[in-house]
């Protein structure tokens, strides 16, 4: 009975949510739910010219992607791009994806190690749900002229940068601080008691650190603005943000923290009720071509999992990448393992308490 009631409720909610989404399109319209920069205009134009499909892009972030797909039980979009660690838990809880049909994918275009790793991380009940696309890291973006001493996440709490630092109040911050404090949160993923112990320590640290923070940033433009104006001199942020700022102001750049940058891979997944799977596979095979992958890297700023995808990337970006990552830093990247279901609720409570602390 309760299950039925719940379904009715979901249906009612879904009805209203659908109203907000674009109207149902014909089969060869690809409704793409992705991140900003992952589907540049010129790539779409080429794809449409080559295949005859049309592409409708909605940009979003991990949480909103999942929330949107959940509202429609996996409908409304034909292809989505959440990070690889957010696939299995969402699939387990809400069943919003469908498995990838590897026979329709040109696997030779993918860097084999990444393809295998992503397949492993996005497997649920024996089926593979994700293909790797763009990868990158988050770490520190520092104005080296004003905060050269910031080398690690916990350095953001140093008195020398009081009132001039920023980070997001989201899970990467918790993870980064945990590593920086000498713990391994990924190892504790499977043991909720141990993970709670990690969270409690991080909570204490972040609460103590709160007076140092100017504001918790929410969007990429916001943090770039704060860094550019000099109001913030060090922040946790994505590598690309740091490299973009570096182009304007050589003092500002991305720094791979001592404890290790956090590595993420954004994937391709098929929403459970997507209706243009063929167009979706066409898009995947199209954007993984080396020259297209390079175009995406040039706009998004991050490298892709395409074989030879970095060949056509402009030299400045390569130089900035190499400036931030030496071999040791690359080896030290902490790649996000899949987030077990229920972990986010624990992290959420911690984040709420940090937010409310004075």
């Amino acid at each position: 009975m309760s299950v039925k009631l719940t379904n009715l409720g979901r249906l009612a909610l879904a009805t209203t949510a659908i109203a907000a989404l674009p109207m149902m399109a014909s089969a060869d319209t690809l409704r793409l739910l992705t991140w900003g920069g992952y589907a540049p205009e010129e790539v779409i134009a080429k794809f449409e010219a080559e295949t005859g499909h049309t592409v409708e892009v909605t940009t979003s972030n991990n949480e909103e992607m999942i929330a949107k797909l959940r509202a429609t039980n996996g409908g409304g979009f034909d292809l989505a791009q959440p990070s690889q660690d957010r696939i299995t838990s969402a699939q387990e809880e809400f069943g919003i994806y469908k498995p990838i049909d590897m026979s329709k994918v040109d696997a030779a275009q993918f860097i084999p190690s990444m393809l295998t790793a992503t397949a492993g991380n996005s497997s649920f009940e024996g089926e593979v749900y994700g293909l790797p696309h763009v990868w990158g890291t988050s770490g520190l973006v520092v104005n080296t002229a004003m905060a050269g001493n910031v080398q690690d996440y916990t350095d953001l709490c140093d008195a020398s940068v009081a009132g001039k630092v920023s980070y997001r109040l989201k899970r990467p911050t918790l993870i980064g601080f945990a590593f920086s404090m000498g713990m391994d949160p990924f190892a504790a993923y499977g043991d909720s008691a141990a993970y709670q112990g990690v969270l409690d320590q991080v909570e204490a640290k972040l609460t103590e650190c709160k007076p140092n923070v100017k504001t918790y940033w929410g969007g990429g433009d916001e943090i770039k603005n704060l860094l550019r104006s000099g109001e913030v001199v060090a922040s946790m942020a994505w590598d690309t943000g740091g490299w973009q700022l570096n182009a304007d102001n050589p003092d500002i750049t991305f720094v791979a923290p001592k404890a290790g940058a956090l590595g993420w891979i954004d994937t391709f997944v098929l929403p459970a009720r997507g209706r243009a799977d063929d167009a979706a596979y066409d898009w995947i095979n199209f954007v993984m071509k080396p020259e297209i992958a390079a175009m995406i890297t040039n706009t998004a700023g991050n490298f892709t999992a395409a074989v030879d995808g970095d060949a056509g990337v402009n030299a400045d970006l390569k130089a900035r990448y190499q400036g931030s990552f030496d071999q040791q830093a690359i080896d030290n990247i902490k790649w996000y393992p899949p987030v077990p279901a229920g972990l986010e609720a624990m992290e959420g409570a911690t984040l709420d308490r940090i937010n409310a602390a004075n």
């Binding site: 009975m1 309760s2 299950v3 009631l5 719940t6 009715l8 409720g9 979901r10 249906l11 009612a12 909610l13 009805t15 209203t16 949480e63 909103e64 999942i66 929330a67 959940r70 969402a90 387990e92 809880e93 809400f94 069943g95 009132g163 109040l169 989201k170 709160k210 923070v213 100017k214 504001t215 918790y216 929410g218 104006s229 000099g230 109001e231 279901a341 986010e344 609720a345 959420g348 709420d352 308490r353 937010n355 409310a356 004075n358």
Partner: protein, 288 residues
Amino acid sequence: MKSDASRLGFYLLFAPILLWLVVLIILPHIGLFIVSISEKVGPRQYETGFGNYAAFFGEPLYWRTFARTAIMSIAATALTLVLGFPIAYYIAKLTRGRTKTTLFLMCMIPFWVSELVRTFGWMILLRETGVFSNALQSLGLVSGPVEMLYNDAAIMVGLVYTSILFMVVPLVTTLDSLDDSLIEAGYDLGGSSTSIMREIVIPHAMPGIVSGCIVVFMLSLGNYLTPILLGGKDSLWFTGMIYTQFITRFNWELGSAFGFLLLGLSSLVVFLGLKLSGQTLSQTMGRS
């Protein structure tokens, strides 16, 4: 025949309202309520119960945020009234014709752009490298940059700014309907400015005051952008908490319960406000 036609006309006119009510208001709320009383026991497994409501009362963080939101909204409403009343009085009683229209229009101009843009406007003014800070420095009043953003006062400024129009409009309407001769009669009978304001103008404007306060309170309570953007790291706001539950925690059940509690809270505050001011909903909403 004629009555049939008029009845058809009635149903045709009534249908959009009914549709609006049912599809966009009643159905989602029923859905929201059903979600709010389902407790998650495991992946894709739910039980009916009031655990989500219990979670709210069990966690001080939640109801403190709730109380903070309500208190700050009430404060914002009071401040908006205090600032809006003189503006409305000036527009309604001390100006005529073209000046009146111009002033009224000037009150509305900021509302032609989106709330986001308006809030960013305040960020440009208040931030450390912003207009006010620079002005104070160049005037030599302060020695270094001043951060005026990311505190409760900034939230208050933003809330008052975003909602003042909704206070001024009903006030101008009711004050406009106040016959000038009533004010003159007050003076003629020996009243002072204060006593006339208290005994004649404010009682007359009461329906406008109450309806303005209801709208402003609701807008402040339900505001999401302003507290988040202007409040920075101290921006706890209940709507933000609902958003977080829905979007980043995937906890629709708790989010729905929060939504219902917010509905209950705002209704309760409005009810108390009406009781305290001795007004009825039909009086205030019917008039403005």
